[in-house]
Symmetry: C2
Subunit: 228 residues, 2 copies
Amino acid sequence: MEPAGLERPILAVDVVVFSVSRGRLRVLLHRRGQDPFSGAPALPGVAVQVDETLEDAARRALAVKAGWPPDAPEDLYVEQLATFDGLYRDPRGRTVSVAYLGLSPARSAPVRKLFWELADGLGRGSLPFDHDRILETALARLRGKLRYTNIAGQFLPEAFRIDELQKVYEAVLHRSLNRTNFRNKLLKLGLIEQVRALSEAVGKKGGRPPHLYAFAREEVEAADRDFL
Amino acid sequence: MEPAGLERPILAVDVVVFSVSRGRLRVLLHRRGQDPFSGAPALPGVAVQVDETLEDAARRALAVKAGWPPDAPEDLYVEQLATFDGLYRDPRGRTVSVAYLGLSPARSAPVRKLFWELADGLGRGSLPFDHDRILETALARLRGKLRYTNIAGQFLPEAFRIDELQKVYEAVLHRSLNRTNFRNKLLKLGLIEQVRALSEAVGKKGGRPPHLYAFAREEVEAADRDFL
DNA sequence: GCAAAAGTGTTGTGACTACACCCATGG
DNA sequence: CCATGGGTGTAGTCACAACACTTTTGC
């Protein structure tokens, strides 16, 4: 019934990796090496091969296209975002792209260089294909999940100070939060718990030494808020 | 391993259409006509063609596989759910499937026959491929969106009584809700608004005639609840 | 009048906001 | 001892669950 041959859409993946450093939300982009849009910054992406999962393809895109360290992708947090269709145009033919959302803690300098500051311009007509829309969707998902999951832990080391966590939230949501209530809310929700007092006050100029906290072990989807 | 030639995954769509009738949540299934799993009930799905969008493919699957009326798919609400990978095995080779979630109001008898009651067994080892997991994901999405969007309107006609709406919520969430508070909450959220008093009391045996309500026009994503 | 269903009001509880205040450290 | 942050307490407001009560119909 169906026409045989190569009359099928090409399946690809694109990856949006966010990171927070120096109080700013940043996104991983690479400069395209081939046409179309050669030289333009874009989300890393590859065509999916028959013998790899979508998530594997996403990690491969980071290594092959963006120069991510070959060992590092393994422990990077990634989740599927959505599948994009229609706007895509490519000389190779019709392409459907499964987008992935990745979150990375601040890392070594060579990796940090891959990230671009998420300024107001980015994501509004500045990226090729439909990457603007993918980026927009990724940011919306990230902001949504901050509210009711422990996903922000992916931006930080195992143990962290509450003020570090608050900076992450403020960078992602792009507005300032009340210090006291931020603290109380996350603690009462059971999202984070105190680990131990900070012994090493690294390069502080004063002030009471903070405690260290960690996100609760389980992948908290924070108790589906009841509807009535 | 894989036959040479088509060294790319096959792209397919599967559709989960829910409906509520007689106080029960139901899902559209069809009996497969070909191997594998010939004769077993399954979600309707087709391979995506180069010249159609994913959503078009999803609507085509309903018409071709499930016998959905050819004119009706146009106004059926559908949204993309997620893309499934890995578990899928098919003689034609590696397949990646983009799942769609559809919501249908109660309709004519021939269409109603396509729906299966969502009993406790369904979705737990009873469907072929990874359709159990797709169904589970669809239900979770539907329940989530009930809480903060006007999506439930897709199950009902333009104007409806509040008790009808409550039955929809109860069927989907699978628990009973407090009549008074259900009413107050949806009204205060601004999700629904009164249209006019009901003139025709169709076959009622008594009681005060209800008002008619409608969902607020816009696709209310109900004001992103602020985080602090 | 009485049952039945729709619609309204009331009260207690708990969450969130916006503060003021106390604590522990470096210089 | 004071500047600098970390940590705790509190009062007002608002949303919400539970439930009693009133309204409007059919019979």
